[in-house]
Symmetry: C2
Amino acid sequence: MFNPATIKDIAKALSLSPSTVSRALRDSFEVGEETKKKVLAYAKQIKYRSNPNALSLKNKISYSIGVMVPDVANSFFSQTINGIETVAYEHGYQVIISQSYDLYEREVTNIEHLANRSVDGLLISMSAQTQDYRHIKELHENGLPIVFFDRILEGIKTLKVTTNNYEAAYQATELLIKKGHKRIAHLANAPQLSITMDRLDGYKAALNQNKIEYDESLVEFCVECGRDVNEVEKAINRLLINPRTPDALFIASDRLSTTSIRTLNKTDDHKEITIIGFSNSDVIDLLSPKISYIRQRAFEMGQVAAKMLISLIGSKHPVYDFTTEYLNADIYWKG
Amino acid sequence: MFNPATIKDIAKALSLSPSTVSRALRDSFEVGEETKKKVLAYAKQIKYRSNPNALSLKNKISYSIGVMVPDVANSFFSQTINGIETVAYEHGYQVIISQSYDLYEREVTNIEHLANRSVDGLLISMSAQTQDYRHIKELHENGLPIVFFDRILEGIKTLKVTTNNYEAAYQATELLIKKGHKRIAHLANAPQLSITMDRLDGYKAALNQNKIEYDESLVEFCVECGRDVNEVEKAINRLLINPRTPDALFIASDRLSTTSIRTLNKTDDHKEITIIGFSNSDVIDLLSPKISYIRQRAFEMGQVAAKMLISLIGSKHPVYDFTTEYLNADIYWKG
DNA sequence: GTGAAAGCGCTAACAC
DNA sequence: GTGTTAGCGCTTTCAC
């Protein structure tokens, strides 16, 4: 049904050889001006477009990169993708986006799909469920360029970019302390994520630095990362019935922040609790109750990640530069 | 650097011919059980993966579909994409997402990229800026399967799916009237979008049906679709200084809704104005001031669109079924 | 300055 | 049951 013109068609019509046409199209110096013009004109006329599959087969590169994120319906990730796209576009790369929905199964299948060499490299933010990362390690060992962003993976040595989560959590917690709060609860993401532990560590450090004892009963993990509303509600409620009722709450992610607010709105207790949470939602400032928030530089992170990947792809020799770049987060206090 | 194993490698190692290996890998009945086992085992061992470019070149299909949206960082579109992905995944299709940012230039380039036959079909939601759609028409005439969703295009005869915008706008407006409002303003998207005019028509019809005269000065268009905060602010302010100050506001899109709320929050006038707006934000219920909203079935729209496209791709003969499917929207009233 | 031929990885027709 | 051959669209030697 859809039968695009090929180089052969042009060659036949102009009584030239395919090779000459090929050269003419790529403006090779070897081909005569006259011929060039003729070819270009005819190509345009019949709307010739090169077949990227043939090109990829021949050149071993596809000028496309794969992006693996948990979810595009999430402000943070969609902003990251925007950053990735911007850079990719500038370098002539196509972006293929795939979602894991935080499901291990899905992550394995989709990375498999992407990696099948239809992409020149991979940008990955880990699914929360993933514990066993052999599917990624294998590809990496086979030489497929991979860059991790946001939810990075310790076990694989490559370029990575993420927020300085430790620092952001430290500052957020210290801010709460400065404002006079003493019983600060922490609602955390799935514990197997790098970012979860970094944020927890920052929180602990700030408490410690300010001579507040760390109380395990004030920390709740959400393995479903806020996808399961029930889980969040239960966690929040456990915190609220705690004999040492918290006077402040530090929330570790976008989805958790909004779900928590919704839960708190159902009770009357929220009047007394101050909230600060990670969020890249573009309407966070309109939410009620007011919430202070930590905003990650998502767009920038996407740009950095894409640049890293493109540099990896472009490098002729294996790269042993295992830098991890840390971006600052911005904290907005709503008194 | 990245040199995946090929069928030839297997053939050589096992002293077979490439065709036998190929058959064995695809579990053809022609090949002996013994051989099959050997091939499969060895393929697994050396982590053989088929080369999709070679496959596409051979089979003329790539099992991938392109999606063109204005923006993924937008609840409505990211939900649509989720729907598309679900269906695509079930059918073994890859999804390639591309964004126009509502820019004509960008839409042309990106559709061009996608269409280069690296995809078997295209799912398009038009950029707001686009007036001249020859770039799409051409592809369609060449036989590339195309399905429009949400922001559809009248001029091209193919399968389409969108919200019943007329009906949704009618109901929303009538709801406002039923609640006693008489001076209902309308904040609209770019006028060249199909959905803008449908919603405007529904609004007009509801007024008319309820014997309220249509007042042009109560309608404001935002050509930038809410991307330009200034534009929205100005529009809102024009409405507020209107001598016939509106007592209610019907807002035509997601982005406009949140930007409007932000603007209204800056003034004190919002106390007196009732708002209903299109929104697929998952935190719309947490916004302050409270806003009633019209929610499109975005996920379902994505599913329908993807199914339509896959059916088009699968059909051996040209399809002359120009159905447009209309989905209902759901209205949530927050008194 | 242009053409012929081989090959990228895979499959389908046609042998045997 | 397995191998040979040709070809998908394109590029790249190597001829002339």
